[in-house]
């Protein structure tokens, strides 16, 4: 018995040794080493010199990685994809092939996963390509990969990606902000979209959602906007690009030098001239901007653009959702701006504006920018389906003056309203009028009312 026990003890000890060796062998023979040996063989084929050939073949296998602190990631993709930056590998088989057309976006500075998705830290194929459990971010398919450009290029046109421009344009003009918040600005009926791209929904899901929200997300309050396929794709691109990651100043730059020309463009785009004037030329609602860069520090001006209420409580200036570089560009423009600039900007506007027109224009801007158009339509026509609300849809705003005074309308905008029910016992309608008093200043709300009143068509007159 005692002898037998001792024998078992030694047998188990031997087994333990075998298991350790087995674990070490398992650890020492990862697939990436095989890939590296293959790559060095491929590289050695073209070497005429026997010595260099031997040196290439003798390259010790090692994990290659890009530490990208600015992008908050580590990419080990080049452990297997060894030829991405080597033009001689342009005809090599995968995973060694050269990545053409990268321009300035070399892997050593940008890594791979910022555009492609996948799991940068992984060193085996399935895990790295993200097609495994518990990695929500698999490789993006070819159709959607260009959406990633928008993760860094957050403003302006991105060359080669018209979908992004179109998506952003649709987002701002179709009134998405009426229900959705983006970077802190917008309504709260739908989910916040600031980091929608980081939610790892599949592009396919997003696209089908835009085409018919209810088919993929049952009971969704989102109306069907009857987007075309191209529009749905454009919006999908835009959603995929919204990750709210802090990319670091190097990567977040759209136009690397935020110069006055881009600032001027923004000044026109954002219609600053409808409230402000430069050297007396323009509107008088807001202050004269001539020499403002001399009288105020750039930090003060920057804060004024981000959060005017913080600088001047009760300020009527709206907060603009602008990238840091866009704000820098605006300030650069203001340093040099003169009344001549204001003149030329005004002359390119369709017509000279009266103070009433300015107020109406500002109201129209707000109506579009805060997403009222999402439900009430770009022409105030309403008509978005809203089950169990009276009439079954969002009402048109073209005949308000028949039933309401201007003050009553202002009160509804301020405090919001749940629509009267069609069937009092049924479910509450998914869409309702949010209270805007916390988002918009009274000034903004009054302008919107001005705009609405400018568009009223008297039904009674028609009826007579």
């Amino acid at each position: 018995m005692e002898r037998r026990l001792q024998q078992i003890f030694f047998a188990l000890s031997f087994l333990a040794l075998v298991l350790i060796v087995g674990a070490a062998w398992q650890a020492n023979t990862p697939r990436w080493k095989t890939y590296q040996y293959k790559f060095y063989e491929l590289e050695a084929q073209g070497e005429p010199n026997a010595l260099t050939k031997a040196a290439v073949l003798a390259t010790p296998p090692e994990v290659h990685q890009q530490l990208l602190t600015g992008l908050q990631r580590v990419d080990r993709c080049t452990t297997c994809h060894l030829g991405v930056e080597d033009p001689t590998m342009k005809d090599a088989p995968e995973p060694f092939r050269y990545h053409a057309g990268l321009g300035p976006h070399v892997p050593s500075r940008f890594g791979c996963t910022i555009c492609h998705g996948g799991q940068g830290l992984a060193t085996d194929k399935e895990s790295a390509h993200g097609k495994v459990d518990f990695w929500p971010n698999p490789l993006l398919s070819k159709d959607y990969i260009r959406a990633s450009c928008g993760r860094c290029h957050k403003e302006g046109d991105v060359p080669g990606v018209p979908e992004l421009t179109e998506g952003r344009h649709l987002f701002e003009t179709q009134g998405c902000r009426g229900c959705h918040k983006l970077n802190g600005v917008g309504g709260s009926i739908g989910p916040d979209l600031t980091a929608e791209g980081a939610n790892h929904r599949s592009p396919d899901w997003l696209e089908r959602h835009f085409l018919a929200p209810n088919t993929v997300s049952t009971g969704s309050a989102m109306p069907n906007f009857h987007f075309s396929k191209d529009q749905a794709r454009a919006l999908t691109y835009y959603m995929l690009s919204l990750t709210a990651e802090d990319m670091g100043s190097f990567y977040s730059s759209v136009r690397l030098i935020p110069g006055p020309a881009y600032g001027r463009q923004l000044f026109v785009e954002k219609n600053c001239i409808t409230c402000h004037n430069i050297g007396g030329v323009g509107a008088k609602t807001g202050p004269d901007l001539l020499g403002v860069a001399k009288t105020h520090s750039s930090e003060w001006l920057d804060e004024q653009l981000v959060n005017p209420e913080l600088v001047y409580p009760g300020s009527s200036m709206p907060a603009y959702d602008l990238e840091p570089n866009a704000r820098k560009a605006l300030l650069a423009f203001l340093i040099s701006a003169t009344s001549a600039d204001a003149d030329s900007i005004l002359s390119k506007r369709p017509a000279k504006l009266t103070p009433e027109d300015v107020a109406i224009e500002a109201g129209k801007q707000n109506f579009s920018r805060f997403g009222c158009v999402g439900c009430h339509g770009t022409e105030l026509q309403g008509g978005v389906a809203n089950p169990n609300a009276q009439g079954g849809e969002v009402p048109s705003l073209l005949h308000l003056s028949d039933d309401y005074t201007k003050d009553e309308v202002i009160a509804v905008i301020r405090n919001g309203r749940t629509p009267p029910l069609d069937n009092p016992k049924g479910l509450a309608p998914p869409l309702y009028m949010p209270a805007w008093k916390k988002v918009l200043s009274d000034e903004d709300i009054n302008r919107i009312a001005d705009y609405l009143w400018s568009k009223q068509q008297t039904k009674k007159a028609e009826a007579w």
Partner: protein
């Protein structure tokens, strides 16, 4: 040559092992092997009496310390780095997955073995006088083991870790008056976050292991001082017959003669300690049944050690430790489950927060602690302990059933879903 001999003799002072003296000295001149007396009884080593569960628990703890120290070299306890370090262990650290797997499976194994060990001790009645206090020490060690496993659960900082700890600490928060404060003290805030991770790390690698090591020393020491290893019931001496006493008779108590100490004599300790030792000693009539601890006991324990190590290694070679997505406080998995050994509590909490979160655990722990003092029945014979065994079996069965239900039968929204039914779209 002389120097080598001197070095050897300075380390190993015993006589050669071929002699009985050498075998004895191997044990009592060695701080570690002193865990046993020089001689033990044959029946102590009977496998089916103890299943070596206490030793296996100890060996798992040793594996945990070894692999744990290795893992500490690769781990930084703050959210931004913790998960990435897990990924590094998974993908680039040599034998990293093996190391993590060994640590993870040993931890689960230790929770299981410590519980089975407790069941065995109860079943054989080994908590009875004079071993009551050692049972209490054992229950505290069980709680510390759960604490170690629970604190380690958070460290990978993945979804599994984050939500298991969130649910687990919420259960603790149900305790009246102090629950909320205790939870906050443990987490360093209202939710599981950076502070919680650091606190759990400190508890996991410093506070709790030290406590376990210290109490294990007490536990082993008391095993020896309270009578040595547990003996199988069949070998127990029959209970001494009660002597018939005539009422009113003069008790036969013989007064010990006292003698004034001689001022010319110095006393050794063995002469000062009087009275019969409380523990069993090997009496002369049992001498035939006793064998030297070396090799008889030590070889068997070494065998248990190797079986534990190879078992864990084999499992770890084929099954890697799980690692889910990065912890995301904004994305609650449905259902969010506590670590498996707390799922019985979570199951109870789903019916009643007060019952599952406060009453049940408090009653369970208190009942376990006071068992040796409530159970006045001196007999260790199974037949004489029907009530105690029945109650304990019910306690074990209820715990097991609740854990199995919580683990396998609870789906989204904590609804009853058998494991063979696949829920589609549970998380959307």
């Amino acid at each position: 040559m002389n120097l080598l001999q001197e070095i050897y003799q300075s380390i190993v002072r015993r006589d050669p092992l071929s002699t009985d003296k050498g075998k004895s000295e191997l044990v009592f001149l060695n701080v570690w092997l002193h865990i046993h007396p020089a001689k033990v009884k044959r029946e102590h080593m009977k496998f089916t009496h103890t299943f070596y569960l206490g030793f296996i628990t100890l060996f798992l703890f040793l594996i945990l310390i070894t692999t744990g120290v290795a893992l500490m070299c690769y781990y930084r306890p703050y959210p931004a780095a913790a998960y990435q370090d897990m990924k590094d262990l998974q993908f680039v650290v040599f034998m990293g997955p093996f190391l993590r797997a060994m640590h993870r499976w040993s931890a689960h194994g230790m929770v299981v073995c410590v519980f089975l060990h407790m069941c065995r001790v109860f079943y054989t009645g080994s908590y009875k006088k004079p071993r009551q206090f050692n049972w209490v020490v054992g229950v505290v060690l069980l709680l510390l083991t759960l604490g170690l496993s629970f604190t380690g659960y958070l460290l990978p900082w993945d979804q599994l870790a984050y939500w298991a700890i969130t649910v687990g600490t919420n259960i603790g928060g149900y305790a009246p008056l102090v629950g909320g404060q205790l939870r906050e003290l443990l987490l360093g805030g209202h939710t599981v976050g950076e502070a919680a991770l650091l606190r759990f790390y400190v508890l996991h690698v410093a506070v709790l292991p030290s406590a376990v090591i210290l109490l294990t020393m007490v536990h082993l020491w008391r095993v020896r001082k309270d009578g040595g290893l547990s003996r199988p019931l069949s070998k127990l001496k029959p209970e001494p017959q009660q002597k018939l006493v005539t009422i009113g008779a003069v008790p036969e108590i013989v007064q010990l003669k006292t003698q004034p100490a001689l001022s010319s004599k110095t006393y050794g300790l063995m002469e000062v300690v009087t009275g019969k030792p409380i523990f069993e000693t090997i009496s002369p009539e049992e001498e035939d049944d006793a064998v030297f601890s070396y090799p008889f006991a030590f070889v068997r324990e070494a065998l248990a050690l190797m079986a534990t190590v190879t078992g864990i290694m084999t499992i770890s070679l084929f099954f890697h430790a799980p690692l889910e997505e990065l912890a995301n406080p904004a994305k609650t998995p449905n259902p969010a489950k506590a670590p498996w050994y707390f799922l019985g509590l979570q199951e109870l909490v789903s019916h009643s927060a007060l019952l599952g979160g406060v009453v049940a655990p408090a009653v369970m722990v208190l009942a376990l602690l006071v068992i040796p003092y409530i159970d006045r029945n001196p007999s260790r014979q199974l037949k004489a302990r029907k009530w105690a065994l029945g109650l304990f079996a019910a306690f074990v069965a209820v715990n097991l059933i609740l854990i199995v239900v919580g683990t396998f039968f609870r789906g989204p929204g904590w609804a009853m879903v058998p494991p063979w039914v696949h829920v589609v779209g549970g998380t959307e």
